[in-house]
């Protein structure tokens, strides 16, 4: 019996894709140092990484030619690949979720992939104190909505503090003629706290309501069940530690406020997003155990970003906060490697620390560090090959693998361009040909 199943397993392995070995690479493992060597991939996982590896029989060997191999880049804050981003009508929009509107055909996925991003946290917008649910995706270009979802990723949700959630509480400077003006609570940071406290108070009552119902029902009473509330259920999951909170925040005061609200209700903030004044309260953030996912150098685009400094990431790292760099932008997303390099310039992080900000640290912030974020045996084979050191301004991505499959190859991309152009021209010509001839051109008018 045992033998039979072993044989079966053997057959399965034979049928599966052959192992891949990427050799002659400068391997930046992030967690286990850097070396010139090889990485062995089997069934979508990294099975070995080292200066000398055993090449499995039948393996497909990729010669990296001395180029740089690093783990797939992780963007902890993105808004690509979704048909809608903001349910801005209400201050608590936890009933909505990105998963419902994923767009696996968005070209931004391919572009991010071509910048080395293999995993992205697709967040709801920031118009609401408590926003919608988010989805973690892998940039598996060509797959459907289910295919790009990061299977098994812990669910998350967006919160937002400061200027954005209070904007609709204030009369806009520019009014659209004819559009109704209806001010939405809150209009201040005090109100933002209130909205969050009210919502969690409600969630606790909801939790109790269901417990009471279950108890009465168990006792045999003919009792009407409470209404299921899709707005409150995610909040109950937060209270139960089953859903990660990613909170958009800028100013030190609001950051501290949220940490205290979470403390009071007994839950954790998984990450503070943007957190541009995080450096002012790094100690408190570290003590709470929240991660910080920030920009490298954005500032001064609004009042709450006026004290933003590019040293933010480095200060927080030095003060013990788990820090990542994010893009929040489909373009910047393609250059997170040089964003990481900025933390070496501003604040003197080491190369390894800098690269951690876009690999293992965001992996931890998404509770996915057992799967991604470094080149280690057992992790997903999500890898990026750069022609130069990824922290150089002159580096560009050559190849990207996700789960051991090549999803981006610059050479293929380049050689494909001509064919795609021709195909398109063919369609254009065909349409022109089929265009019904106009009866009387624009120039021909009756005399």
């Amino acid at each position: 019996m045992k033998l039979a199943s072993l044989l079966l397993l053997g057959c399965g392995a034979l049928l599966a894709a052959p192992p891949i070995v990427i050799q002659n690479a400068n391997v930046l493992t992030i967690t286990k140092g850097s070396f010139k060597g090889a990485v062995v991939i089997k069934d979508g996982k990294i099975v070995e990484a080292g200066e000398k590896v055993i090449i499995p029989p039948g393996a497909q060997v990729i010669d990296a030619g001395g180029q740089y191999l690093m783990p797939g880049i992780i963007d902890c804050h993105s808004h690509i690949a979704a048909d809608s981003i903001n349910e801005g009508s209400v201050s608590v929009s936890s009933m909505v979720g990105i998963e419902d509107v994923l767009d696996p055909t968005a070209i931004s996925i391919y572009r991010a992939l071509a910048g080395g991003v293999t995993t992205a946290n697709i967040l709801h917008g920031s118009a609401n104190s408590i926003g919608g649910k988010c989805s973690v995706i892998k940039t598996r270009w060509g797959k459907g909505a289910q295919g790009i979802l990061f299977e098994g990723a812990k669910p998350g949700i967006k919160f937002a503090l400061g200027e954005n959630p209070k904007r609709q509480g204030n009369t806009p400077n520019v009014r659209i003629p004819g559009a109704p003006i209806s001010l939405r609570y809150p209009a201040t940071r005090m109100g933002v706290e209130d909205v969050i406290r009210q919502a969690f108070t409600e969630a606790k009552q909801y939790q109790k309501q269901w417990k009471d119902y279950e108890a009465r029902k168990a006792s045999g009473a003919a009792v009407i069940p409470p209404r299921r509330d899709l707005k409150l259920e995610p909040l109950v999951e937060i209270l139960d530690g089953k859903r990660l909170v990613h909170a958009h925040s800028y100013r030190a005061d609001e950051i501290l406020m949220l940490l205290r609200v979470a403390d009071d209700f007994g839950f954790k903030i998984k990450t503070l997003q943007h957190v541009l004044e995080g450096y002012k309260v790094a100690k408190e953030i570290a003590a709470h155990g929240a991660g910080a996912s920030t920009f490298s150098d954005w500032w001064a685009y609004k009042v709450e970003a006026y004290d933003a400094i590019p040293y933010n990431a480095a200060i927080m790292v030095r003060k013990g906060v788990l820090v990542s760099l994010n893009s929040d932008d489909a373009e910047l997303m393609r250059r997170l490697n040089t964003e990481a390099a900025k933390t070496m310039k501003y604040g003197g992080l080491t190369e390894e620390e800098a690269l951690s900000l876009i690999t293992i640290n965001p992996a931890k912030q998404l509770d996915l560090d057992n799967r991604i974020g470094s080149i280690e045996a057992g992790k997903d084979a999500d890898l990026v090959l750069f022609d130069k050191h990824p922290l150089s301004s002159f580096a560009k991505v050559q190849k990207v693998l996700i789960d051991g499959t090549v999803y981006f190859d610059r050479d293929t991309d380049l050689s494909d361009r001509n064919r795609r152009q021709l195909e398109k021209q063919k369609l254009l010509d065909k349409e022109k040909q089929n265009q019904p001839k106009k009866q009387g051109g624009p120039g021909r008018r009756p005399a």
């Binding site: 809608s84 009508s89 009933m95 509107v101 909505a145 009407i224 265009q435």
Partner: protein, 442 residues
Amino acid sequence: MKTRRLLVALALLAAPLAAEPPSAVAIRNARIITVSGATLDRGSVVLRNGLIESVGASTSIPADAWVVEGEGLTVYPGLIDALSTVGLNTPTPTIQTTGRRGGGPPTGDPAPAGPVSRGPEDRPLNTSYLLAADQITLADRRIESYRNMGFTSAVSFPTRGIFAGQGAVINLSGQRPSAMVIDPSAGLYLTMRPNGFGGGFPNSLMGVIAYIRQIYLDAGQYKEAKAIYAAHPAGNKRPEYDKTLEGVLAATRILLPAQNPKEIHRMLRFATELKQKALLYGLQEGFLATDVLKARNAAVLLNLRWPERARDGDPEAVESMRALEFRDKAPTTAAALAKAGVPFAFYLGGLERASEINAAIRKAMAAGLTEADAIKALTLSAARLFGVDDRLGSIEPGKIANLVVTKGPLFEDRTEMKYVFVDGVKYEPAPAPAAPASEATR
């Protein structure tokens, strides 16, 4: 000139009212496309009391029948527009899924202005209780124009809002609105159109989806609460009457918009989650998703208004490959669905002229759809998808006497519509004007 045309139109309208229709009509020696069975190259069909009495190669002609000589004519079942607003009291005829860039979701009536909604509890954009059957108006001029093109029935829906309302299968003739209704519960029409700027919840696609999900949860709870309360009123709080949930619970099926593979996957999953029997509508990029449609046993309503290049566009505008492919391949969807065995029916999507409709169907046929499948998609399949195939959609004894009699094959511009029978009442369509009215009068 104008007055005269109006008079002619009035006279035509009045014709069937003036004379009481004969109890029996027989069309003899015609080619008969039964759709449900074999085509009769030469046969007769007898109509009595608004129903088909008999059909066959050698069916006998009753003595009292008003005989129509069918020599050189073809008889088809009356055509059905499977998703329409014809006959309804709506300000703008809609349900269009024109070829928007990237195949965007179908558009339609703008949402009505109302109080700002603060969540699903306010039941925004929800008129699920609205019945098309109650909204029928004889004043809709399209009833006649549809009939003149061979359409004897339509499945008409209220289309405003997210839960727009319940559709009805109607016949396109009648002296009273109520007499036109064949089935008042054709299904609940849903859109994914959020509130506009400042309109409150939901103002995004994901808000709409979350809202629909919440409504179905609420409806389930409402149903259960009512049942428990009915059995145990004492000690239980009385469930509050909710007409929107009543409407949702009354729906026999729901109609969900899906134009491209992304939306098709999304809506198929959504229908499964809601545990609702659903028809997808739009489907113009369905050619890319026949496998999943087949795998999930989906049935779909396919918009005949194929995407077209904007007439007054920028000549130097750069269009995406996707948009070009969409326009090129959309008409192949019908053949692809037929080949995959996915049940589908056509709807006009706002096409209003016979020449446009013919051109659209011919495009689908040029892309591989057989004529028989094209006819079926406008007759029996439409009836079947709405559960009225025991009454409509083919020429079989016992079915409603909706027929089109032509001189020449359907879908050809030069073919003359000789007669249209609705509920056994004969209409003789006026020949279509040679050119659009606006140009003819110039």
